[in-house]
């Protein structure tokens, strides 16, 4: 095969030499890269709270997540690709967590396991609890549950694999680590009178200025709820008694439904039009 010109190989129509047929598969670089990466996710060996017990249970003999290429749990963040935040994140603990995250080499993923890591969970109102690790770190997959069963964790891990499958080397905006240059480390929170996120310094300064001036601070005024007092039962009652003079809840609801229906139809029409253009 001395006459084989390597450049010809770029041509997808290139006839394969007789002896090599059946030994080639054509795929994209992204795909093969993602395939090898998603099947060798090494999680950081690190448990925070109750959810960690289920994480260990998932790693153990019965559920065994090494079936997904994750058996190598590393104690060092520098050797791991995936941080499973398994439990309640407290203010005292978020400092080391952010530090650990910064020490992980890219590409890296964060998986928030359980209600606590996703949003504070049952302990959300506690004074030392962070309302979800996503207040400080980018999270890729959230797993609901308190604690999520091992099956749920496995499902989350598979979801993460699917996510990795969809990432592209060609699209630099897709994931930061395929771009140029190192990405910025996440600023490490400071333990002051309460936890301080360095990204919010300005906001804190403005609030303290308000406080110094004696203006209201520390609360955000929110619009009151538009409470729909016309519960279906009441509406039904008024309808049956023929009392239309009251709230007229039925009509209003019907009108609202009408609007929703119309909007849906419009959206559908727009979609159809778009498809027609692309086709």
């Amino acid at each position: 095969m001395a006459e084989l010109n390597l450049n010809d190989l770029h041509d997808t129509e290139f006839p394969l030499p007789e002896g090599l047929q059946g030994n080639f598969a054509i795929t994209s670089l992204s795909k093969i890269y993602n395939w090898s990466r998603r099947n060798s996710m090494w999680p950081l060996l690190f448990g925070l709270a109750c959810c960690a017990i289920e994480m260990i249970g998932t790693a153990a003999s019965r559920f065994d997540f090494s079936r997904f290429g994750m058996e190598v749990m590393r104690g060092s963040p520098r050797q791991s690709d995936l941080m499973i935040v398994s439990g309640t994140v407290t203010k005292k603990m978020i400092v080391p967590i952010v530090r650990l995250y910064n020490q992980m080499p890219e590409p890296k993923y964060v998986l928030a396991m359980g209600a606590c890591a996703s949003g504070g969970g049952p302990f959300k109102e506690g004074y030392n609890v962070v309302s979800g690790v996503d207040k400080y770190l980018p999270v890729d997959v959230y797993i609901p549950g308190c604690p999520p069963t091992p099956q749920a964790l496995l499902n989350g891990l598979i979801a993460l694999q699917l996510k990795i499958d969809g990432q592209s080397l060609a699209n630099k905006d897709d994931v930061p680590w395929y771009g140029v240059g190192p990405s910025e480390p996440t600023p490490i929170p400071i333990l002051g009178p309460d936890i301080i996120d360095p990204r919010q310094m300005d906001l804190i300064r403005r609030q303290t200025e308000l406080a110094a001036k004696g203006l209201p601070y520390g609360v955000r005024e929110l619009p009151p709820f538009q409470l729909k007092r016309s519960a279906p039962k009441k509406a039904l009652a008024s309808a049956t008694t023929g009392d239309t003079g009251g709230g007229g809840g039925v009509e209003r609801d019907a009108a609202a439904l009408e609007i929703i229906k119309r909007k849906r139809m419009e959206a559908l029409a727009r979609k159809k039009a778009r498809e027609a253009v692309t086709a």
Binding site: L45, F46, G47, L48, A49, C50, A52, I53, E54, I56, G57, A60, S61, R62, G75, G87, T88, T90, K91, K92, M93, P96, L100, P122, F123, K124, E125, G126, Y127, N128, V129, V130, S131, K135, C146, P147, T149, Q151, I190, L191, G192, P193, D194, I195, I196, D197, Q200, M201, L203, I204, R205, Q207, T208, A211, Y217, G218, V219, R220, L222, L227
Partner: protein, 627 residues
Amino acid sequence: MTNEVAIEQTQNDVQTLDQAIDYLIKKYPNIVSKDTREGYGGVIVDRNHLIDVATTLRDELGYNYLSSATAVDYMGIAEPDSDMEMVYHAYRLSGGSALVFKTQAPRDNPVIPSLVSVFPATDFQEREAYDLYGIQFEGHPNLKRILLWEGFYGHPMRKDWKEAYYEEEHKPFSSRWPGGYVHRAEERNPYGKNVKYPADFDLSRLTDISEESLYAGLGLGVDVQSLGGEMRTDRLVVNMGPHHPSTHGVFRMVITLNGETIETLEPVMGYLHRNHEKIGERNTYLQNIPFTDRLDYLSSMGNNLGYVLGVEQLMALGSRYIPVPYRAEVIRVLMAELTRIVNHLWSIGFLLNDLGAFFTPMLYANNEREKILDFFEAVAGSRLMCNYMRFGGVFKDLPERIKSVANLVNDRVRDFNTMEYLTDIITERLPRFLDEYEYYLSENEIIKSRCIGVGVLPPDMAIAYGAVGPLLRGSGIPYDVRRAEPYSIYPELDFDIPTGENGDIYDRYLVRMREMRESLRILRQILPRLEATKGQEVWAGGKQGAYSPRIPVGEAYGRVENPKGELGYYIVSAGDPKGTQNPWRYHIRAPSFTNLTCLGPMSKGHKVADVVTVLGSIDIVLGETDR
């Protein structure tokens, strides 16, 4: 110091609790007085003489085992000069109920003498009270924050301290019930996070002092010492944790080393402090049950039991209390003992992990554990967080069959008769497994050489430090709440309390092994009782009574022998006249927390690698340590 010694020390004519109280009052007139508040017991001690009274208690009356020390803030209830209270529970090792003594101080300047010199067991508990309530303990050797960080603003357990997401004093919040339209807490907060800064907060002078006090006095980087003139070693400070695979969670130790030998070890905790008690005081009594699951998350059933026992004590003060039905008690003991096995399997597995048998024994132990978890799931609906017990019983009877599509083993849907399944685990599987486990491990040479003589805790020290559970029994003291102050149906069950002799890691390991066998023995006695009571009621007073219990005014201390040791709930009911009832004080005396007091002394003089095993042999769980 065994039982006999403890009894000998007692004044001969003072046998019962009442006699002891009378003795105290006679000896200290005007200083000690009976606590006469409605529903309360014990004595109130003038804080200026607290140390004297405590010494008398320990040396003359034999109450030498102090288990719980906690603070209560009676803001708005008690007189302003006595509205901060410290409550201590002291026991005799021969058994019996607690002598509760209290001391009071004004809220705005709470200064109370420290009892560390009399009962070293109060060391961490006083630090906790300082941290959360701001009580100054005079004479405490190391009074600094323990659960929060140095520099934190305020003392959060005080009744007038409001958290960033504060909504109302008590649940159910009016925004959630009955309307159910709420803004999420983050939306109301200008930072979008669970934070709040003091009004006079000056960012420009912000310094992070949370680590400073840890290293103060350690003489960092100063000295090169000579050892016998030949070898010169540096003193080194090593941080282990909070992220470390062998600290069993987010626990941290600051260790000073001389060469490789440990000079000092300071436990640093609070990395999982999730404000259990503050939330618990906003919750209603019933809402707290699922929270107790998350204390010692390996033995949630045991935690449930302690809490419901505490609240039932309070309910029993009222007139409308209906005792727990017999079948419910049987089921409770069944669950508690299964939990003990679950926990010990796990803790022994992890101890071996720490010894270097990386995960193999653990995996075998976990296999058996899963069998029990399946049973829990079938009964309570959840593998770990069972949320199963209720005031006056348990919330559901055992199901006829264990059937679950979620539990696929070899692709076979499980469908078992519950009693057969239980009988099989209790009489066949687990005993066989324990034999096998012991055959391979107990005589293993590596285990013996790493464990025997390491981390020794002498019995007198164990008592002084208030060690509980297998740690205490490993040191040769047969103290078990199930015997010392029996609850549920333990009096009618036949079991032994295994103890060790040398108080080292190996003894603790053996104690746990034998305790599992004792648990199996109890469970074998439970099986016929389960059969005999089939179909009987499991919940006193029907659903209504248990869902909205009327809790009379008073205090209660419910304690159980949890797998890790004595778990106590100190509950104060202020009797809210409005009807929705919330505990005024809800304190958890956690075995893992107090047992850590012994960690420093136990590891002194050993190597770094041994610390890991010493910690593993205490068997801590951080959810309970930090709460």
